[in-house]
């Protein structure tokens, strides 16, 4: 088992390294280098930089040197916690992202919890009562959930919310809590506002998980160990929950790892549409404005977070399935 874990850790590190390379690539994609844009931006705002200052900046970012040196210098900064400067906002990137990153993570975690709480029971019910009206209904909604892109769902929800309920769907906090410090009240406020975004983000994932749980449970229900359990005299629901459900959970955990990147992608789009204070809207803004350090840092951070999340669910899978410990299966 240890070998398995070490390998997964190694791959996770590799993945994060790939993310840093891609982020660096993106940062340098637009024509012109960072300092030129920065200087030009400052000039528009009215302050002129001295030549020495410009050269110092160039030195600092290694812009006169080959790419790999620049990359290393940038990575060095990252490791020290300095993500660079955003000239769009006029603040260090850390300050801009700050709380938004935490909120993004909270949203992702809450959505995954929601997906699990909804999909597993529904999947079980669908499998056990196959072809019943519930099964067909959930399967149908599941398909719809898969088919409708997140942003569209967000649009529709906004429309319905506005037209039917006359409240505006948007943001994660009520006005009085926006800049307040954390308190119980703020948490509750956040929870209330998160309901709609979670519903939107969770739809596709719930649909997938329902399908997989249902399919796997249907497979497991036909297996011999279920017959054995029944022949021992266990009641139906007890044996279903204890044996085949337990087996069907393993693919569900694997699927969660797979869903995570889509969740994060989706949250970017949904937060743009709904105006949530997560990293999504500022990523868009920074890209449009070609504020590359901000954009690159965001991509780096959420990419890494996702990889870490995937790795954590690998850990979960190991804990859940003793066969993995023994055989070191991937």
């Amino acid at each position: 088992m240890l070998g398995y874990l070490i390998r997964r850790l190694f791959y996770a590190v590799l993945a994060i390294w790939a993310v840093t390379m891609i982020s660096f690539f993106i940062i340098n994609l637009p024509p012109g280098d960072y300092v030129t844009s920065y200087v030009a931006q400052l000039a528009i705002q009215g302050s002129i930089m001295q030549f020495e200052e410009i050269e110092n900046l160039r030195e600092f970012y290694g812009l006169n040197q080959p790419m790999y040196v620049q990359y290393l210098k940038w990575m060095n900064q990252i490791v020290h916690g300095n993500l660079g400067f955003s000239f769009e906002f006029g603040l260090p990137v850390n300050d801009v992202i700050g709380e938004r990153l935490i909120l993004t993570m909270i949203l992702a975690l809450a959505t995954i919890t929601f997906i699990w709480l909804m999909a597993i029971p529904i999947g079980i019910l669908s499998a056990v009562r196959q072809y019943s009206i519930w099964d067909h209904t959930f399967t149908f909604f599941g398909f719809v959930g898969l088919a409708v892109p997140d942003f569209m769902l967000a649009l529709v929800m906004m429309y319905l919310g506005f037209v039917l309920f006359h409240f505006s769907v948007g943001g994660l906090f009520s006005p009085e809590y926006v800049t307040a410090s954390w308190s119980m009240g703020r948490v509750i406020d956040l929870a209330q506002h998160m309901i709609i975004p979670i519903l939107i983000l969770g739809t596709a994932g719930t649909a997938s998980l329902i399908r997989i749980t249902r399919a796997n449970l249907l497979d497991e229900l036909r297996k011999p160990y279920v017959v054995t359990a029944r022949a021992k005299g266990l009641s139906e629901w007890r044996l279903i929950l204890k044996y085949p459900v337990r087996m069907a959970l393993n693919p569900a955990i694997s699927l969660t790892a797979y869903i995570l990147p889509f969740l994060v992608s989706g949250s970017i789009v949904v937060s743009v549409v709904l105006g949530l204070p997560t990293v999504g809207p500022i990523l868009l803004k920074s890209l449009v404005a070609q504020d590359m350090f901000l954009a690159g840092s965001i991509i780096l951070l959420i990419g890494s977070m996702t990889v870490v999340g995937t790795f954590l669910s690998d850990l979960l899978l190991v804990w859940a399935d003793p066969r993995v410990k023994f055989e070191g299966r991937e």
Partner: protein, 349 residues
């Protein structure tokens, strides 16, 4: 493998009039209602099991023997349904209950399952849950049918593991199925089935997946435990050699019906139904002359949805009589002491 039944096998005891058999299956019918049509997997199976006796059910693959066994405990998966017949269990010889009358998955039948009647299966690897320990699964069986607490049940489970011959049973309790060998798994399954001291053990091809040596060991364990506990066994197999070894009474099934039934020596010495005869003569023997062509039953088993009319064996029967065999279905009729066969050769009625 010894083809002839051994002398020490118990002869069927005479039944005093008025004593009900332990288990009486009467005209059991289990059909599968599929999209492609209705498959009559079991279509009129009848036999009796007496206390302490081993009834062997033998037949080719697909003849319905497994389904019959599962029907007794009502553990048929959909689209299968028991559509007719009776399964009468009589624990004291005087009163009987029809198991098929009990509510499916209800409390009554669940008490019987694993309690009075236990079942072991062919594939021990897949018959255990891969993610639960052995101990967990055996203790579960014990606690379902007794009032022992966790510790007592644990002790009992370890004891039974020892009785079936699993070394270091205490340690094995916390291990998983994949950590056992095939023979040990089957022993563990036997332990799990017998730890509740059932009156009847249904063994559905328990040795088919094992190699010959292990097979012999398992059969030994079964027989010794049977003697210790005075248990009846319903032994299902397609292997005539095994039947000769363990059974007291043999029921031969073909396409969902019992076509012949009788004491094991009689069946082997003088089979009456043409199918039984063909089955017995198609077994390779050590006495056969070298280079002699291996005998087989001509033709193939018909698809269950295309049952032949009348007697279901008639298209392959060497004693086919064109004026009746394809037209009417024969019933089980007496053809000797304690022996019955369903064939018009022995009476047209």
């Amino acid at each position: 493998m010894n083809m002839q039944p051994t002398e020490s096998e118990t002869v069927i005891t005479e039944q005093e009039t008025g004593t009900l058999p332990l288990l009486a299956v009467e005209d059991l019918q289990t059909y599968f209602f599929t999209d492609e049509g209705t498959v009559k997997a079991v279509d009129g199976a009848s036999f009796e099991v007496l206390p302490g006796q081993t009834l062997g059910i033998v037949g080719e693959s697909g003849c319905g023997k497994s389904i019959t066994a599962k029907s007794i405990l009502q553990i048929i998966d959909s689209p299968g349904q028991i559509v007719g017949g009776q399964v009468k269990l009589s624990l004291d010889g005087t009163e009987s209950r029809n198991l098929l009358d009990m509510e499916p998955n209800g409390i009554e039948i669940r008490a019987i399952r694993g309690g009075e009647i236990s079942m072991i299966f062919q594939e021990p690897m897949t018959s255990f849950s891969p993610v639960h320990t052995f101990g967990n699964q055996i203790v579960e069986a014990i606690r379902l049918h007794s009032s022992l607490d966790a510790d007592e049940a644990h002790e009992l489970a370890v004891d039974w593991m020892r009785r079936v011959g699993i070394p270091s049973p205490e340690q094995r309790m916390s291990e998983y199925a994949y950590q056992f060998s095939g023979g040990q798994r089957q022993r563990a399954m036997i332990a799990m089935a017998l730890c509740t001291e059932p009156r009847i053990l249904i063994a559905d091809e328990p040795t088919t997946a094992l190699d010959v040596t292990t097979q012999a060991q398992i059969l030994d364990i079964l027989q010794s435990l049977q003697k210790q506990n005075e248990m009846s066994i319903l032994f299902i197999t397609h292997d005539l050699g095994v039947i000769a070894e363990v059974a007291d009474v043999v029921a031969v099934m073909y396409l969902g019906k019992v076509v012949e039934i009788g004491p094991v020596e009689t069946i082997f010495a003088s089979p009456k139904h043409p199918y039984t005869k063909a089955l017995l003569s198609s077994m390779p023997t050590i006495d056969a002359a070298p280079r002699e062509r291996m005998p087989s039953i001509t033709g193939a088993i018909p698809h269950p949805q295309n049952r032949p009319s009348g007697c279901s064996f008639h298209p392959r029967c060497p004693s086919y009589m064109s004026d009746i065999c394809g037209l009417k279905e024969p019933e089980l009729m007496s053809v000797g002491t304690d022996q019955q066969a369903s064939c018009f050769l022995y009476g047209r009625d």
